[in-house]
């Protein structure tokens, strides 16, 4: 017990007393304290740092709001830092691991009820433990005509992904935008329903987002101001037609023109879903590994990439999109899209049935149709025992910005010996670059190098004016510091809210760089 990570402010005796009280609430089998047999499930398997830095002291798994309220009373009494997770599958950003060693993980996976699916109005109400697979399987069993919008890994929590500002690949891909209604337990144990749900006779809690007064849902996303225990999420009605397509482009510099072509089509909603331009290695990892093309150290050279492109019949960039709607509408839209893409020399077009043996096509087509899967983890095999942390900056959706982001990240990655494995998504008006920094998780030196590289990328992008929208545990403070306008006014406001709602700082201290007063010194 002497080496056990403990909450900073607690003695071993106090910790054991708190655990005893938690066991009275949850029973023996939902309080986990054994470092080897139980708490290894709460480590960040893709960490760039040592496990000890994020080792929890315990984990607890409530099944109801009432149990959470009782847990909070114990947390306030002993000042136990609780790190809330839904299913803990936010890999590349820390997974189930807490921000600091010694925290108690509040694991909500057992709160896994699908409370309502409304077929007529197209929404679901779910608890934190409901995964994309759970909701998809439920809808399939009910022969529902509603689609879900899964994140790329289908094992993740619907609620967790939404509250982390996650995204999917159907027209309902901006998950927080599709939120309507939220239940939150505050640090003092009080329970709040947001929006129309707070009206005592409400029948529109999941139909209208705002209600009367401030819309506060955003305060409980990417934050530590409360524990979200239920959300309403709008679901897309199955369209009368669906046609996925892929367009490949042969040259790295084509990214400029692709982005210029796609941005107005997306803005005008001729491309209705998250239009994704996928880099060569990202796509190739579904079928090959680096070793099959390059045995040297450092990034794969251009000659290897060219050979992969030839062998797999893919481009240096591969655009995935889909048409949705009645067939005549899709026919008309395709004429416009095809003409636009044909303006880029070397563009090749693929449709359903053209790539029967290409798993990359298959899983992309599924994602754009709302079918959850786990295929994307193949990317980790690029380097053998691969792991990744994701760097996700946003910029205007222009060719110039796309190339600037791409070359900045690629060059920095190469400097540190890593490959560029990335994709670009055009939102309505912005461009999101997801760069997977893939490293060998069994190589301590490489993990350290990946860590340093990531920190440099944040610095690089801050200088260029690009902010990241999400962060791994280890980089939350660094990224928060880049949101520094007006002497850091936004984070100062966050801290005032934190102090008001959670004066003892028991809820996820340090989440997104928001710390309670006692830990801000």
């Amino acid at each position: 017990m002497s080496d056990k990570a403990l909450p900073e402010s607690l003695t071993l005796e106090q910790f054991e007393s708190a655990v005893a009280e938690l066991r009275e609430i949850l029973g023996q089998d939902r309080v986990y304290t054994d470092d080897i047999n139980e708490l290894r499930a709460y480590r960040d398997v893709y960490a760039t740092t040592k496990d000890e830095l994020h080792m929890p002291s315990a984990a607890i798994a409530p099944e109801s709001v009432e149990e959470i309220q009782k847990i909070l009373a114990v947390a306030r009494k002993y000042v136990v830092p609780l790190w809330t997770i839904s299913t803990g599958k936010n890999f590349a950003y820390g997974g189930p691991a807490p921000r600091k060693a010694g925290y108690v993980v509040l694991d909500l996976k057992r709160m896994n009820r699908i409370i309502e699916v409304n077929e007529k109005y197209g929404y679901a109400v779910v608890e934190p433990g409901v995964s994309y697979f759970d909701l998809y399987n439920y809808l399939q069993a009910k022969k529902s005509k509603l689609w879900i919008d899964p994140a790329a890994p289908g094992w993740g929590s619907v609620l967790g992904n939404l509250t982390e500002h996650g995204a999917g690949y159907t027209p309902y891909g901006d998950h927080f935008l599709m939120n309507c209604g939220m239940q939150v337990v505050l640090a003092d144990g009080s329970v709040v329903e947001t929006g129309m749900g707070s009206a005592s006779t409400s029948n529109t809690a999941h139909l209208h987002k705002y209600g009367h007064g401030p819309a506060v849902e955003g305060l409980f996303t990417q934050s530590n101001f409360g524990i979200v225990t239920k959300i309403g999420i709008w679901l897309m009605p199955e369209p009368p037609g669906y046609r996925p397509y892929m367009v490949t482009f042969p040259k790295e510099e084509d990214l400029y023109q692709i982005t210029e072509v796609v941005a107005p089509l997306r803005l005008n909603m001729l491309i209705p879903n998250a239009a994704t331009t996928v880099g060569l290695i990202w796509d190739a990892c579904q079928r090959v590994t680096k070793k099959q093309y390059y045995l040297g150290k450092g990034p794969a050279p251009p000659s290897a990439l060219k050979k992969i492109a030839e062998d797999l019949n893919i481009g240096m960039w591969n655009f995935y999109g889909a048409l949705y709607g009645p067939p005549p509408l899709m026919d008309n839209n395709w004429k416009i899209l095809e003409e636009a893409f044909r303006s880029i020399p070397g563009a090749k077009f693929y449709f359903e049935g053209d790539r029967p043996d290409d798993p990359a096509w298959k899983y992309r087509a599924q994602l754009m149709q709302g079918i959850p899967n786990m295929a994307e983890f193949s990317i980790m095999n690029w380097v053998g025992s691969g792991a990744h942390i994701d760097f996700a900056p946003r910029s205007p959706a222009t060719g110039e910005d796309a190339m600037k982001q791409f070359t900045t990240i690629r060059d920095r990655a190469h400097e540190y010996g890593f490959d560029y494995i990335g994709e670009f998504l055009v939102g309505w008006r912005e461009l999101l670059d997801v760069f997977m920094l893939v490293f060998d998780r069994t190589d301590d030196e490489e993990r350290q190098r990946a860590h340093e590289c990531f920190g440099k990328l944040i610095e690089d992008h801050a200088k260029l004016g690009y902010g990241e929208y999400r962060a791994h545990l280890d980089f939350m403070d660094q990224i928060a510091a880049t949101y520094s306008w007006n002497d850091g006014a936004l984070w100062k406001m966050h801290h005032r809210i934190k102090d008001a709602l959670d004066p003892q700082g028991v809820l996820s201290p340090g989440k997104m760089g928001i710390w309670p007063e006692s830990l801000r010194k």
């Binding site: 080897i36 047999n37 139980e38 290894r40 499930a41 398997v45 599958k89 697979f133 399987n137 289908g154 094992w155 579904q286 090959v288 590994t289 070793k291 099959q292 045995l295 798993p359 298959k362 899983y363 959850p372 899967n373 786990m374 295929a375 983890f377 193949s378 990317i379 980790m380 095999n381 053998g384 025992s385 691969g386 069994t442």
Partner: protein
């Protein structure tokens, strides 16, 4: 301790049947329930699959993982054993750990030019057995098949070893596979 032959004959069911069967109580195991998983689509894992009745791991492991979660939650198997790409090991490990299964053996098998290197962790008996057999000419994937028979609840140690052999990667090899064994934690 079971002999390898007895174990293979009795513990693994034939393809198409549930992967569980009873072993005589005199062996120390009243019943031995084993699930064996193998990556689909590469020649080494195909060779492994030809030795044992396996459930294949498809390019998208979604369905397998959902079934696995359910069966591990219900403690349907005492052992989960397999040969896979590393990405799938990581996923399976998540479900194993959260359902009270613990890693008792791990092997990393990497081709580099004409050398196949096995980096293995397991108890003393596993290490000694693999060391004596993996450096020879015997099919390495069939040698792996005995690992569950060498696992012992009483021996929780995880020693490390490295074994090299001269061997070229088969034509469709990814160059790197991992083998692993999870055992349900004794209450």
């Amino acid at each position: 301790m079971l002999s390898r032959r007895v174990f293979l004959l009795s513990a693994f069911a034939v393809s198409g049947l549930p992967l569980l069967t009873s072993v005589a109580s005199s062996t120390g195991y009243s019943s031995k329930k084993v699930l064996v998983l193998s990556e689909n689509g590469c020649s080494d894992s195909s060779a492994f699959a030809s030795c044992l009745p396996v459930k294949p791991i498809e390019a998208d492991p979604s369905l397998l993982l959902q079934e696995l979660d359910k069966s591990l939650r219900e403690k349907e198997y005492e052992f989960v054993f397999g040969l896979s790409r590393d990405s799938n090991f990581v996923l399976i490990e998540q479900y194993a750990q959260q359902n009270a299964y613990r890693l008792h053996y791990h092997g990393s098998h990497q081709y580099q030019r004409n050398t196949l290197t096995h980096s293995v962790r397991g108890n003393k008996e596993i290490l000694e057995s693999l060391s004596s057999q993996l450096s020879g000419n015997e099919s390495w994937t069939s040698v792996l098949g005995q690992i569950p028979t060498l696992s012992d609840y009483a021996d929780e140690s995880m020693l490390s070893g490295k074994i090299e052999s001269i061997r070229s990667a088969p034509a469709n090899s990814s160059g790197h596979l991992v083998s692993w064994l999870f055992k349900v934690r004794q209450a």
